[in-house]
């Protein structure tokens, strides 16, 4: 099978993954009759072998339903990450992390292996006060250079506060969902299916919308 990552990109990723701190496990949920499942599987396999701290497993969305449910996974392909203690990192990437979204994948791997805070003290204090269940959806396209920034912000919020979950949706794979949420511009960020905004906005913009949730 032809390698997806070019030797040049493989080398770059290998170099960047030297920032990995602790072991993590990446779990990809797939299903039959899914165009992007096979290339996503191959891509994650190619990336995961580039650093010893990454363990990669494939699961079936239907046959491993209990595990999918435990991580709130209801689509395929979807990958989630567990930290060294087996804790779910509270985010899901739905679709194929190709194109610009390779950045979302690599950042998610490194962030999940880190124990350092992602935000300054002021933001952390504000984030501590979020006590409602929050779900952040970020719709992206593979050709969008601004989208990985929004995905990373959403994932970092989810990794910091246990009340927050985050879902990135690659809009071409999940076209019907994109239409349901009236997405025609990306990155589109939707909080609890209620509040939405557009663009790679600073973390304060995410918090401002999150704080609106009653």
């Amino acid at each position: 099978m032809k390698q997806l990552l070019t030797p040049d990109v493989t080398q770059q990723i290998k170099e960047v993954l030297k920032m990995m701190e602790n072991p993590i496990q990446v779990i990809l949920f797939t299903k039959p009759d899914c165009d992007t499942c096979q290339p996503t599987l191959q891509l994650l396999e190619e990336v995961s072998i580039l650093n010893d701290t990454i363990t990669f497993v494939e699961r079936s969305l239907t046959d491993d339903k209990a595990e999918a449910d435990a991580y709130g996974v209801s689509y395929a392909p979807t990958f989630v990450i567990l930290d060294q203690n087996g804790n779910f990192k509270n985010f899901r990437f739905n679709g194929i992390p190709a194109g610009h979204e390779i950045n979302s994948l690599i950042t998610a791997l490194i962030d999940s292996s880190s124990t350092k805070p992602f935000f300054d003290e002021k933001t952390l204090k504000r984030l501590e006060k979020v006590d409602k269940d929050i779900n952040i959806k970020v719709f992206v396209t593979l050709s969008c250079p601004h989208c990985p920034g929004a995905v990373s912000n959403a994932f970092r919020l989810a990794m910091t506060n246990p009340n927050i979950t985050a879902d990135a949706f690659e809009a071409q794979t999940f076209n019907e969902l994109s239409m349901k949420y009236n997405v025609s511009g990306v990155p589109k960020i939707i909080i609890n299916d209620q509040y939405e905004f557009l663009g790679n906005q600073p973390i304060d913009a995410f918090l401002a919308e999150i704080e609106k949730v009653k």
């Binding site: 070019t6 990109v9 969008c144 250079p145």
Partner: protein
Amino acid sequence: MFEFNFDTQPKNTFDTNEVYDFLVIGGGPAGLNASLYAYRLGMKTGIVTYVIGGQLKNTNDVDNYMGLPNDSGSGLTQKFINHIQQFQIPILEDVYVTKVEKLDELFHVYLDNSHIVKAKTVLLATGSVPKKLGIPGEQMLNAKGISYCAICDAPFFKDKHVVVAGGGNSAVESALDLANWAKKVTVIQRSNFRADKILLEQMYANDKIEYMIQTKIIEIHGKTQVEGLTILDNKTNQTSYFKADGLFVAIGMLPNTAYVNDLVELNVYNEVLVNHQQETSVKGLYAAGDMVDQPHKQIIIAAAEGAKAALNANQYLKYKGE
């Protein structure tokens, strides 16, 4: 599908307590090239920015940067980053600058994360953002069929009919990008085309692209999505309804100068006034790239202005005896 544009790089730690000789605000071509020159001159150099690449990343094809033909905006950005990474120039990303002040011969650069970075000289290189049409319907239908980034949002318009507003290089490039997805693209320009001949020839040769010049878009219609436009024919002064599924606006840019409005002199377009040395009205404060008062917003010009600013900042510090 696997055109990877990898831009996560190990960054040298940026020290906010350091006093920099030359602090660059902005991570586009002007700022990156300035940092390269400043570092090579031996100045203690740092970059603060929200993102690396700036507007350049919104461009699919770049074919006018000498020595690097047929590249993409992201590809060229990557080459710039790789070049400056060789020198471990510290970069602080994900921050916005809220204010710049000059106090006791030192610039104080206020960041939105509450930190203040001090520097002996500063380069403003924060570029610009897309200009809006400012017509009825635009605000309500923003992101509901109206877009300012063709490469980001083109996939949502597969087999649809979209309009591009504008007549410069960005508008024609957007039309060419969109033609890969849309059923039909109509470029509407209120005057005549200003784009490069080579781009116009590509547009004329593309069967999917039509165009209307001397035509102004005066209203955007739709309930939950763009459904059509009211257009005005400048020659006949007649208005008509034009059915469209989407509108991509590429009519120019607005400079990001709000954080220095009270500090430097600006022209009527809010662009920073600079002299031939890229000096602003404040000694030791330079500006370069799309935010300054020169009409040709080009990658190579922005990069060159960044180099000039660094060279002149170095002279300025030497002249001061530093």
